[in-house]
Point group: C3
Chain length 365, copies 3
């Protein structure tokens, strides 16, 4: 069995076993796991080559939680109204038939504003201001509101632009001032110089590779920017120095598992129960037009942990990382993995989440 | 060939042959079939072990027709308005983001109010008042109106609560006073003591059994209450004495085929042509989010007999029973079967309905 | 290699090769291809038995473009408002629950008015006035607006009726006076006597035939009128003399490839950039309820060439023909083929469109 570092609280020993089994499931597997229950840390584990508990990894779409928490806080304070049109905050967004899109529709992947016909280079993907401007000027890929589909690489930029328009702060500034610095959350949109040395490269998937890129002329291809000549698959994009430094809000963050768990602990603390219910409410459930599979979105956050309606909210990423809050079990959870998964990206996270929940239920009775 | 009891009118001999063929298609098959055309009984048949023409069987979702007919009658009289919000009749239903749900959306399986996170025990499933209260207080499983999915075990309770709020009568009282007793309809929500002896147990399916229960964390699992520790599959639930006595309106009714045919004859008589068209209009056609298959719902009733737009309305059940009105052919139809089907639950009913229609067309010219 | 007649402009030689390869891909294949870039003809080719550059072929659903261009012109002039209800122009359309359908919903296949329960004979399918009247009086096959599905054989009649109600001209008169005659467009709704001799019969598909007709009780069957006793599959319907002479607007047109390319050149010239963007905007993207596959519709026109959002708009047909405008590449395109395709109807057109685009990009730099 691989060596597992770190600690678990009494009663959470099965989680250590499950974590060791996950590490053993793939040669060279390295990962971090952290969880708290009812405010107390119960799991803080790591293992595998090149990682310790302080390492930072590119977490791809897990980053989106930063943008959605910012939106939730602004909705809670009344600065942002999910029922109002995006253009009332951001006039340029009205272009090309998007005048009627509400903030709530944007957050729930209903706007159809998934990309542009030119696509984005890796360097452009690092620049949320550029992304927001281009997508705002572009026609939607379906009639807004008529369907929903994952705005994979741009939802963070679009949400962040709403933050900037309502607060005057960039999303990174908002996150740093309101969440990261005051609460010591190890989740960064472009890590500070002193933290860069803790960043560890994501490793490519074991053979077989994760398949061909999506067809350039599909909605998935457009949302993935696969039609751009300089397209990089996500396991390479995530390590690109410019992309990583840019800390774009859809996929560019770096974090430790501890950072992800703490991020959701802060989310739980800052959001009232009513706001938490509002963000975890299943606003878009069913066929995702871009991914072609079933998904369940709340106000941005993914909410099927494991099924919609349970009150949990969070996000996962293509690299297998995940962070979430599960108020019903009093639980926050973070998981990162270093090697890009070959198959089901969410498998490790689901397995470990079940293990933590099982122990939490047994302890809480 | 199995012995077939009962009679057919001249010109309907092919239906007797089709019924005998259905009985012969499975060892120990027992079933009832009844139909009227233009007000006259044309088919009254039964056969197979343990059944005669007077036997009552648990008909599972065929029961829902009772609730939908009550709603249709109240819509016709103006006591219930499909365009108004459910909360205007039932304030508690507004909880957790369901304030905007209209009566029409509820009836067409668009509310997302398919169940609760705790699920229901078999005993709780027998109690529509309990179901209505719990589901009303619970968050929906998708944004109401954004999709539709079968509210398998609760739509009868929710519809029945609307009946109670508008008339002061429970659904059972409404059904008994307005439909069952005055017209002698042998379809019961909890059979009277003198009729209990006519109830025959449903038999489990032949090997192979109907597969594993739905995943507890799927929408189908939640709608089926498969996540409750005391989950019973439908072929066992239907025979549960408490469940059967409760006569819950989504799946708890018992009936004979004659009773089902007569129920729809009464529906035809009590509803004006305009109301019949309104209930048979395809309000929700396409992908059912819970079942994962294509469905077509009118105002509650299923309306694809065989395709939406033909004006027929009715309901089938997981046990293979079916009841419907087909005004275009002047036809009402009831079918019950004793053994739970192993495969396509609707196959027998579709086959026999075609046979009856063929004869009706030939006779009517 | 088959002999290819006609000419290509300098730099478009690869298109000639691609066209020859298409002709060689099937025994006895005959086809026409025409394209212009930035206003100048660059491709004018034909080849295979029985066809020359002047031949006219039944183009089935490519015909629909005539109706959609007329609607676009009336929207541009303000005579037709996509946000207004159809009934404000055409009161009879309000019947049976269709009162709320807007012009935009009708054009985007959302009305559910795909056919009638009786279906249409081939002779009836030739008569758009009859089709419009019957469908207007009929109940929709889903709740209007709740889904979209291809109104295969009737959308031209319904759109044409709006043209008639707003202008006093039949769609054929509108097309002849505003498009065909003034600009010499070889695309006819019922060809004039002197052009009939140029019409060439479409040939049946090579073995295997295109499969059984759609199930009579499916939405596809109803939209295809497959439930009518006199049903003809499209490769026979297209040659029916009455159908061809009627020139119905959903599938009854005849054209040459030159005619299709010129039709879209005229569309480009008559529509302002804003209108072109409006018609090419993806109004209905995703699962087509009738076809059961993914589609992307603008204001009637198909808009995924190759993906929605690129600004191209046009239509293809079951016989393999296609016409479209691609303003981004300054390109218009027409393709017809004589033999009904056995498999993917759009394959030839997609292949040749790519060849033309490749040359256009290389030339325009």
């Amino acid at each position: 069995m691989p060596r597992v570092g770190g600690t678990v609280a009494p009663g959470y020993e099965p989680v250590r076993d499950a974590f060791a089994a996950v590490l053993a499931s793939e040669p060279g597997h390295a990962a971090q796991l952290a969880a708290s229950v009812d405010g107390s840390p119960v799991v803080d584990l790591w293992g595998g080559p090149g990682l310790d508990g302080d390492s930072l990894l590119g977490v791809l779409s897990v980053t989106k939680g930063v943008a959605f928490l910012a939106a939730a806080l602004l909705i809670q304070s009344g600065e942002l109204d999910p029922g109002r049109e995006v253009r009332s905050y951001w006039p340029q967004f009205a272009a090309e038939g998007k005048a009627g899109v509400t903030v709530g529709e944007l957050l729930t992947h209903r706007a159809g504003a998934i990309g542009t016909r030119e696509g984005f280079s890796p360097a452009e993907l690092a620049d949320d201001a550029l992304i927001a401007g281009r997508v705002a000027a572009h026609a939607p890929y379906w009639r807004p509101g008529s369907a929903f589909g994952y705005h994979s690489l741009v939802i963070g930029a679009l949400t962040g632009e709403l933050v900037r328009r309502t607060t005057g702060l960039t999303l990174k500034e908002f996150h740093d001032r309101r969440v990261r610095v005051p609460f010591g959350v190890d989740l960064h949109l472009g890590p500070p110089a002193r933290d860069v040395r803790r960043v560890v490269d994501v490793l490519p998937p074991l053979a077989p590779p994760p398949g061909p890129p999506p067809a350039a002329d599909s909605l998935l291809g457009i949302a993935s920017s696969a039609h751009h000549p300089a397209f990089l698959p996500p396991h390479l994009l995530v390590n690109d120095p410019v992309f990583r430094a840019g800390g774009q809000a859809s996929a560019g963050g770096v974090a430790s598992a501890r950072g992800l768990a703490r991020f959701y602990a802060v989310a739980n603390a800052l959001l009232t129960p009513a706001t938490r219910r509002a963000v975890a409410r299943p606003h878009a459930v069913g066929h995702d037009l871009v991914l072609g599979t079933a998904r369940a979105y709340g106000l941005g956050f993914l909410v099927a942990w494991p099924s919609p309606g349970g009150g949990a909210f969070g996000h996962d990423g293509a690299g297998g990382s995940v962070g979430l809050a599960d108020p019903r079990h009093g639980l926050v959870f973070g998981y990162t993995r270093r090697r890009f998964p070959s198959r089901d990206a969410a498998a490790d996270g689901v397995r470990l989440l079940r293990a933590v929940r099982g122990c939490a239920r047994a302890r809480r009775g």
